[in-house]
Symmetry: C2
Subunit: 665 residues, 2 copies
């Protein structure tokens, strides 16, 4: 693993980084020379890059001068990349005192290297510079994706574009657009216009916009893989075309976001279904240049099929004993359509069924067991299980989810079928306003898992680098940090947010499926402007607190104690001003007791720190077994989610650690 | 003038507001009934409104239930509005304990009333409510616009859309798009594709996007008036079509943003020029539904004409004695083209020349003198002089700029020709990242000037209401506040911004044309990520400080003194931590001495406050004439702009006021 303490914070970490003495100093004469074999894509990429460099350094750099052969930064490219799976993304970067050389087989490799170079930018009293370094880099996996569900809540094109910028920054290369689901059909169809006209409430991408997204992504070396989820998750198809469902309509667009039981499903027994899908996929195949097309195929509970006598008769007639076989039949028919359109089929675990052709790609949401089963039978797979960023786990959890862990036990041949993975941003509980704060920065940790060597896995180091990339992502226009205050302001009706922010900084939205599984029913029109939408996963402040507690545990010096006390006092004194705010903010009522819990536990922690600083004898009875029991109960009670948020478990664990320290003393 | 101390903060202030006892309490059964004559526009408007209400109150309100006749909020509309000048925008709003009635002649009037209603939303410990009130409202002027220059820096569609939302919030009704200028031709032309292909560096609106903008604006009762600036400001036209210029090409797109001397100008003597413009305007007339089309017509210095012997010959031949007459001839020809396309011509002051037809509209950038001259001759006019928001003056200055001031001296007939005004957002020194912070909140003050009765002109009261609308504008997605931190972070290279923010909060970007007139040449690729781009006009913190100083001067009690001291200590102690940041941030070097000036003057002010609190005798010689001279010099020196920013004049004036207090003592 490369070592780079005190060096620029790179993410994803390149496979080889060797820092040298010296640096390349930037000035207004800086510009870029291009040699080799390339087209206009690299010109656009270098223009964008020069603009970002200019914005960070305030140097006035003329993009029209890119290409002059005497410029100090030389980019050498052998060939133009295809925007396709398995394209060469490697690059080498050599920075010396007077010259920077970025060489790559393809322009996309050079685009990856440009991101690394910008992350190397440093400043000191003399100005801006790049440290001397030699970097050799290439991805570990060829398929490194981000799935964005634009169905449950529509995510408009500007949000998609800024997330593509974020993807490019961390070297992801597949944007997987989940375009159709029960709650919305989000793409214009000229062949069957009732699909978007009746299935989307006016919220869909026009084909012009889709082309714009594809071009924007391709310019950054990113493929766009569309998903049209069939035969289930298909209500929005039937809003305009109920005749292809397995039960009679009408089918209004689904407005519930969870707990759907009898999801409408395509009728796989009708010829007309395939005629319809044939024309539809033909249209989409012409629109999307990527070789892969995703047909979903997940979570069909089969109930519509079971209730339809004609479908039951069809099964009997074809000697099918269960719905899996029927779905397998359906998949085979759809696969034929895709093959006719020169596309490879892709789908979720469920499409992996006996007899399925090996030219499909399986995306695993179920786990590594099903993943490994598939690769053993030489089906190409990508991993999404453990990468569901909508479940709001910690960056650490996502980071350590290796598609090919050390103990995989696979043959070298089978390993090759693991193409990579995809972060999955399901959109039941996000809107355009909050989605960035769920995608970033966690997806950067996933991006590193998929790009960097397997032995780059130090969690503490990852978090340090993640903090740097977190800010740089904001420079691109992403709003994961900047929408926080707006959300809090709405909750205080435009009032002062400082006390609310102090609390919310150590809160986290409920994790996993727990928020959705409360007694509240979420509809597509339920406002997502609650405290749980403002709160971010994996609280940074809680992690900082935990780190200080650990430091204090190993070395209880007065400086660490003071830092801890400053934080704890802030939290202890926060409850009173916050209660006045809550009293005028009906939307905050539910977290009133959360604020009190935080303040009380902070008070307890302050006493513990003071006790730990003092001599043993000063209060020998302070921390009795009874106290332990009561405190443990209070910590336990404080874990209870309220208002769909919880006090960061990291924070509560740190408090628990303090109680252990006083008890051990 | 309506009185409403302690009441909801409305902006623009309605013409009549009478608060009553009681309130309408909101709950989850809230919804909207529609009666009268309307189409789907009001359904979309009420859906959007319900969503915003829901986001602010967390009530789950189903948009599908809009229209049920038993809902407690009733909207009554007589007819569907045309999106055109002089449309009826009046409304009446009556809120009682159990019912809200919004009635309007047109749906656009109802849309205006919906904005007022949302501004009335209040919260207390019991929940959300609207206070009982009776409001009658209509605009003072029928033309209330915002001009956005998308040429000097391109402003993409998502930024335009969110600004349309902002316009709707403050009841503006004209979006004036300045679409062509020397630095860019920002609209797709299918008739002459080289216009956008060669004149825009890839940054332009497609016709689909223009349609999207027009529909988005129309849905909010906002007209879109396009400007195609001719015969000058026309370099980008000639990038693709040099043959219509008054001198031979080639014409690369202009990259300089100021100090252009010999601006390329259409050749008004060639028949081909008009053939070209005829086909172009025919295409644009079909695209833009508004009755008005703006042809610019400003700032043609005539030098290209003077240097062209054929043009000189043409002038002689037609007995023209100067270039104004030639431009008048050009305007007449263009007017004929517009009239053929059923459009009325609009232009800047310069188009008002002897013999010009009265069916044009003149937009005044030169001042009220030329405005009054025109209306006396019964030319319709709108005022933009004094509304140039890119010049970064205070909201107060814009607010008090009345198109029809008390002393206008116009006949009632002449007054009618003053249609209104437009805030003008020229884009030499803004990008998509910063433009919102120049438009908002200042444009809200202009919107009130144009909507509310002339006697609504209390500046202090305006500022209080502006602060409320400022936050509500952020709820719409506008970024005037939220991009501030990102800009500061870039300047500290991702480091801690707290000290920089404390300083920048009392800085203002240079006003008027002074920033552009420094020795720096601004190009279209000059980064606009400087401290001057982060700083906002009309510092709120400086205004707060000034208010405290005034309060202290009239009543030097200890509470006010303490508040002042807290602020002054913050500024005094800010220099040291900030200098460490500046030392590592080359981009901040220029403001090092600004920080020191602020700290030193704050120290001086602290001493003055302490002196003023004490007995007269304690230090009778402290504030001598020499001290006065030195302090006055230091304040004067601190006024010097550095890094294109200056310490807020409001702040420095408040310091000056303190020196006067100690000298008077």
């Amino acid at each position: 693993m490369p070592s780079y303490a005190g060096q620029p914070k790179l993410m994803p970490m390149p496979s080889s980084v060797v820092f040298k003495q010296g640096e390349f100093r930037l000035n207004a004469n800086f510009n870029i020379a291009l040699t080799g074999n390339f087209d206009d894509r690299i010109n656009r990429a270098t223009s964008r890059w020069l603009k970002r460099l200019s914005e960070q350094t305030l140097l006035v750099l003329n993009p029209k001068e890119i290409g002059k052969q005497n410029a100090p930064f030389k980019i050498q490219i052998t060939q133009r990349a295809k925007i396709a799976l398995h394209e060469d993304e490697s690059y080498q970067l050599a920075i010396k005192n007077n010259q920077i050389i970025l060489s790559a087989t393809t322009d996309v490799g050079a685009i990856r290297g440009l991101e690394t170079l910008l992350q190397l930018l440093q400043a000191d009293a003399k100005g801006y510079y790049f440290p001397s370094v030699e970097i050799t880099d290439q991805p570990r996996f060829p398929w490194r994706g981000l799935l964005i569900d634009v169905c449950r809540h529509f995510i408009p094109i500007d949000v998609i574009k800024r997330n593509i910028d974020g993807m490019a920054m961390v070297k992801l290369n597949v944007l997987h657009l989940h375009l159709t689901d029960d709650q919305g059909f989000r793409i214009e169809s000229k062949t069957y216009p009732k699909l978007h006209q009746m299935g989307a409430n006016g919220l869909f991408f026009t084909q012009e916009q889709i082309k714009e997204i594809i071009a924007y992504a391709a310019d950054r070396g990113i493929r766009v893989v569309p998903e049209f989820d069939i035969p289930g998750h298909a209500t929005s198809w039937f809003a305009g075309y109920p005749q292809f469902a397995s039960a009679p309509g009408p089918y209004p667009i689904e407005t519930k976001l969870a707990g759907l039981d009898l999801a409408p499903t395509f009728d796989p027994t009708k010829k007309e279904t395939y005629t319809f899908l044939k024309a539809f996929f033909k249209e989409m195949a012409a629109l999307f240049p990527d070789e892969y097309m995703h047909i979903g195929g997940d979570e069909n509970n089969g109930r519509q099929w079971n209730n339809n006598p004609q479908i039951q008769a069809f099964k009997k007639q074809h000697q099918m004993t269960n719905n899996h076989e029927l779905q397998s039949y359906f998949n085979q028919e759809v696969r034929k359509i895709l093959v006719q359109n020169h596309k490879k089929m892709m789908g979720w675990d469920e499409i992996f069924q006996p007899g399925t052709s090996n030219d499909i790609v399986i995306q695993s949401w179920r786990g590594k067991k099903s993943l490994f089963e598939a690769v053993k039978q030489h089906y190409p797979v990508i991993l999404s299980h453990g990468f569901y960023i909508d479940l709001l786990h910690s960056a650490k959890d996502y980071y350590l989810n290796d598609p090919l862990p050390a103990d995989h036990g696979l043959t070298p041949e089978a390993q090759k079928y693991i193409l990579g993975g995809e972060a999955a941003m399901w959109a039941e509980l996000v809107t355009a306003e909050t989605i960035d704060s769920r995608i970033w920065p966690n997806t950067a940790a996933i991006a590193e898992r998929l790009w960097s060597p397997a032995n780059v896995n130090n969690v503490e180091d990852m978090y340090e680098r993640l903090a740097a990339i977190d800010t740089q992502l904001e420079y691109l226009g992403l709003s994961h940090q900047k929408n926080y205050d707006v959300l809090l302001k709405r909750l205080t009706n435009g009032g002062d947010i400082s006390a609310l922010k102090t609390l919310t900084d150590v809160l986290e939205p409920m994790k996993g499926l727990s928020r959705r599984k409360q007694s509240i029913t979420y509809y597509t029109y339920t406002p997502l402007t609650m405290i749980a939408d403002a709160a971010r996963p994996d609280s940074k402040v809680a992690r900082k607190f935990e780190k200080l507690v650990k430091l204090f545990a190993s070395n209880p010096n007065s400086q660490t104690a003071e830092e801890l006390k400053t934080l704890l006092l802030l939290w202890q004194n926060n409850d009173q001003p916050l209660q006045s705010v809550i009293n005028q903010s009906p939307s905050l009522r539910e977290i009133s007791s959360v604020s009190t819990d935080l303040a009380r536990l902070s008070g307890t922690a302050l006493e513990m720190i003071e006790y730990l600083e003092k001599d043993k004898k000063s209060n020998p009875n302070a921390y009795s077994a009874l106290w332990q029991q009561q405190t443990s109960k209070r910590i336990q009670d404080a874990r209870l989610p309220r208002g769909s948020v919880e006090i960061s478990p990291t924070w509560l664990d740190a408090i628990t650690q303090l109680t252990q320290l006083v008890l051990q003393k």
